[in-house]
C-alpha cells in the first residue's frame, strides 16, 4: 500500500454557545489523505480549540452519532473521506437541521430516539445474516440493501427532510421506515393497530411529499422514501377493507 500523503483543508465550522450570536470559526488542518472528515474535525479540536463540541463515538459508522452537514449536504463524517474534497479546499461544517442545537455542531438527538421508541422496532438483530456468493441468506420478507434493519439511527434523514422542516411534530422518514417493517413482520393485531393509528395521522404518513431527500442522504441505503410509499398503499388498502367490512 502507498504511504499516505498530507491533505490540507480549511474547516469553516459553525459555532454556537447559548446566549451568544452564532458565528463561524476557520481552522486550517492537515491530515493524511486516507483520513475521514471526522479525523479532520478531531484534529481541529486538538490543534485549535478544545471547546469545539461535536458528537462522535465509534468512528466506523455503527453508532450513528456524528451526523452533520458538509457544504450543506448531510454526511456521516466518520466514513466521508477527506479525499472527496480537493487538497486545500474549504469545508463548511454545520449541525444537522431539524434538531435542537446544544452547542457548536452538537445536536440534541432526542427527537430521533423519541420517535424510534414510539415505533419500537429494534435495529440490532440477535443474528445478522451474511451475504455470500452474491446471494443473501435473509429471512423471508426481509429485503437486502434497502432494509430498515441496516439503520444506524444517525438522523441524517430527519435533517434532510423538507416535511420535517415544515412540521416539527412530523413522525419523519426513519420512524416511518421502522413502522413499515413492523407491519411487514408482525401479525400481532394490537401492535398493528397501534402502528396504523400512529402513522395515519396529520403528523404521520400523509406529511410526506415524496421529496426522496431521506433516501438520498441515507448512508446505509435504508430507502425510507420507498418504505413510505409502501406504507401509503398498505394504509389505503386497510381503509378500503374497513369501508366494506363495517
Amino acid at each position: 500500500m502507498l504511504n499516505a500523503m498530507a491533505h490540507k483543508l480549511i474547516l469553516r465550522v459553525y459555532r454556537y454557545k447559548p446566549d451568544r450570536e452564532p458565528y463561524y470559526d476557520t481552522f486550517p488542518v492537515e491530515v493524511p489523505d486516507t483520513a475521514n472528515v471526522l479525523d479532520a474535525i478531531e484534529r481541529a479540536w486538538d490543534d485549535h480549540d478544545r471547546t469545539l463540541m461535536f458528537r462522535h463515538a465509534c468512528h466506523h459508522a455503527s453508532c450513528g452519532s456524528c451526523g452533520l452537514r458538509v457544504n450543506g449536504c448531510e454526511k456521516l463524517p466518520c466514513v466521508t473521506p477527506v479525499a472527496d474534497y480537493a487538497d486545500g479546499a474549504t469545508l463548511t461544517i454545520e449541525p444537522m437541521r431539524n434538531f435542537p442545537l446544544i452547542t457548536d455542531i452538537a445536536v440534541d438527538a432526542s427527537p430521533l430516539f423519541e420517535r424510534m421508541q414510539l415505533v419500537g422496532m429494534p435495529i440490532i438483530r440477535e443474528a445478522e445474516p451474511l451475504r455470500a456468493d452474491g446471494k443473501t441468506i435473509f429471512p423471508e420478507g426481509v429485503r437486502d440493501f434497502d432494509r430498515f434493519e441496516n439503520c444506524i439511527e444517525c438522523g441524517l434523514c430527519l435533517s434532510a427532510c423538507p416535511s420535517m422542516a415544515a412540521d416539527p411534530l412530523y413522525l419523519g422518514p426513519v420512524a416511518l421506515a421502522a413502522a413499515e417493517r413492523v407491519l411487514a413482520t408482525s401479525s400481532d393485531s394490537a401492535k398493528r393497530s397501534r402502528i396504523l393509528e400512529l402513522i395515519d395521522d396529520e403528523h404521520g404518513l400523509w406529511r410526506c411529499h415524496s421529496a426522496w431527500e431521506c433516501t438520498e442522504v441515507c448512508p446505509y441505503q435504508v430507502n425510507p422514501a420507498e418504505a413510505i410509499m409502501r406504507l401509503k398503499r398498505i394504509v389505503a388498502a386497510e381503509k378500503f377493507k374497513r369501508l366494506f367490512h363495517r
Binding site: T34, N36, M53, V79, Q117, P122
Partner: protein
Amino acid sequence: MGGSNGNKPYHVIVIGAGSTGSATAHDLALRGLKVTVIERGEIASGTTGRNHCLLHSGGRYAVKDREGAIECIAENMILRRIMPDVLELNDGLFVATNESDLAFKPAFLEGCASCGIPTREIPVDQALKIEPYLNPKILAAVQVPDGVFEPYRFCLEFLATAKKNGAEVLPYHEVVELKMSGNAVTGVKVRDNRTLQVRDIGADLVVNAAGPWAEKIARMGGVDVPVKPTAGVMVTVQRRLNQMVVNRLNKPSDGDIVVPQRQTSIIGTTSWPVDDMDAIEIPQEHVDKMIAMGEQLIPLVRQTPIRGVMVVARPLVSKPGVDEREVSRTFECFDHKHDGVENFVTISGGKTTTARAMAEKVTDIVCARLGVKAECRTRETRLESYRLYYN
C-alpha cells in the same frame, strides 16, 4: 435505601462516561446514591466508542490469563440477560491457520474447559459452509460463545437506567480541577463546554473512571495511578465478511481477530504505548499489517474496500518491566486513601465486556468508604432501552 447520610443521600461524582463510568453510575444509583456523571464530550467518545465491539467469551485469555478469561465468560452471560437489545449473538470461531496454531489447540481447549468457557470443535468442511469466506486452508475450528456489542448504545443503556434512578448525566463538561480540603477531595471544578462557564460541584466522593486519561485526573489530586495508555489500530471494511467472530487459534497477537458487526467487519488490533491520548497518529504500517494478518483468516479482506481506520488508547494497568501484550487485561481499583488522599477512588484497566464487574467492585469500595450498606443488584437488573436515555 442504604445510600443515605441521615436524610440526605451521599453524592458521588463519576468522571468519564465510557463503559466503566456509565456502568458505575448505574450501580451507584441502583444502591440509592446521588450520582453526577461528568464527561468532557459525547457519551462514549473516548476509548469505549472506538471499540473492537467484541463481547468476549474469554477464549482469547483462556491459556495465558485465566483470571481475565473467567471474568469474561461470567460477564458475557450477565450482559446477555441485562442488555439483549444491543448485542449480536452469532458466537465466535477460533481457527488454526498453520501447524503452530494447531499445536496450540490442546492447551486452548483445556484452558477454556478450566475457565468454564463452552467450546465445540467443528469439522473444517462444516466450518467453511457456515463461513464461506474463511481461509479454505484452515486446519481446525473451535466455536465459543463470543458476541458483538454496539459500544455507544452499551453506555446509553447503563446511563438511561441510572437516570431513571435519579442520576444526573453531564456530557460536554470537562473537569479542570479537583476541589480539595486538606487531604480530602470535596468535589470538582468543571467547565461547561456549551457555555464556557466554570463552576464547582461538591461531592462526598469522586470516582475517576477516565480510562486512559485516569492518570491525568489522578494528578489533579496529587496522586499517581499505574495506567499505561496503549494504542491500537482497527480497520473496518465496506461489507460484512463473517457470520461469527473469527479469531486465530493462538495466544493473542497483532491482527488476530475479525469481528463482524452488522454490515461491516472489524480487523484488529495492534498495541503500542503512547503518551498523548488525544493525538495518536495512525501508522500506515499498522493498517497494512491488519490487512495482511486479516487476510490469513479471511482472504477477501484484501479485496474489500476499507470503510474506516480508527485508533484509540486503551487503559492498561501497568506492571513494571512487562510487555504491554502481557499486562493482564483485568482491572484494578485504587482507593487513594492509601496514597494519603481521602474520598477519591480510581477504577481502571479492564475492557468493555467487564465494565459491569468493574462497576460492582468500585461501588463496593465506595459504599464501604461511605458506610453505605446496599447489595449490588446489577447482575439481575434488566437495563432500560438505550433510546430512553434521550427521554
